[in-house]
Symmetry: C2
Subunit: 209 residues, 2 copies
């Protein structure tokens, strides 16, 4: 009798319903609007029920964040294949950076929660999704290095510096620190483009493409 399996399936259904509700509330009302009672209301359960599926609010949010990272990775992957099947590795690297920034612009609430949260004290996951995207970047950098487009002794360090570059500019822009320099999203994207171009070619005289 497969009732146990059905129970298991139903359980998983409720679990994902909770996560979806949390994700939707997060997108619509921001992190402040994301309360256990709001989630409970949306899925028409009691708040206490959530604690039968997640030990904490932190655990629930962590799950949502993990999902967000997956989405972002897929977003970037899709973006880079869309606009660069024939592009060289350096161009693909640039496309990744632009996609990262654009994802942040399109999912600001997501993006904030992904990085504004505690320094992840309890991490068991062997970084399958979280840094999975980074590995792709590293590989791209390696191809660019092999093609002589970028010089780097350590492709991973180079990828991380690039990550820091676009992540930092994006954070500053989203928190309103750049308002008196870059006003619109278009201006911001062009700033990102310039910054990424810089990493490849530098500011040295005559080095610019």
């Amino acid at each position: 009798m497969g009732t146990a399996e059905r129970r298991e399936r139903e359980r998983e259904l409720v679990r994902t319903a909770i996560i979806e509700a949390a994700r939707d509330i997060l997108s619509e009302n921001g992190l402040d609007g994301l309360s256990m009672r709001a989630i409970a209301d949306r899925i028409e359960y009691s708040p206490a029920t959530i604690y039968l599926y997640f030990k904490d609010k932190d655990e629930l949010v962590h799950e949502v964040v993990m999902e967000a990272f997956e989405r972002m990775n897929e977003y970037i992957r899709r973006e880079v294949v869309a606009a660069g099947e024939t592009a060289d590795a350096a161009e693909q690297y640039g496309a990744m950076g632009r996609a990262y920034a654009r994802f942040a612009l399109e999912n600001t609430a997501y993006f904030r929660v992904m990085f504004e949260l505690p320094p992840v004290p309890h991490m068991e996951c062997p970084e399958p999704e979280e840094t999975g995207g980074l590995e792709t970047v590293v590989a791209t950098v390696q191809r660019a290095v092999a093609a002589g487009l970028i010089e780097s002794k350590d492709a991973r360090r180079t990828a991380i510096i690039g990550w820091g570059l676009v992540h930092g500019l994006t954070s500053l822009y989203l928190t309103g620190r750049l308002t008196d320099v870059v006003a619109t999203n278009e201006e911001f994207m062009s700033l990102i483009e310039e910054a990424m171009l810089l990493q490849s070619t530098g500011y040295r005289v005559g080095a610019r493409a």
Copy 2:
């Protein structure tokens, strides 16, 4: 009779006491530990009293953040004059970036609050302190450009890109995203150094110093 002035002074005294208490709690217990009641306890007043000096918790925190920006600016200023009276503009620029990162390492709670907060919807201040530091950076970049050490069509854009670079790397490091690449603070500082060096010289073949 100067009782009005004395009253005013006493009032200002309580006000700064509140801010100091908030700052201390923030440093010791982080943003989560910063509650109105905790502040009231520390200054031995009732929670309601705080609302006679600040309309909001947001307004109070905003004040603390403004102070934090001033402190950071002064920290950087001191750092750059300390280790670079004879240094050229490019070296001073690098010192600024390192100081920024070191300040973040030494005041993690501060740093988080400074940038994790809402996109500052109510900003009347004509950026005297907040971007006051940025102007110094811009001036340094301009001197470096004039000396032929850095190429840049727009010194402000260049400064902002540098800001984004070190800010992003710092944020990622503080939120634990770089743990499997850079383990210690020393490694992190060397990453910052490499990244800033990159902005001046680029990854182009033969462009490295």
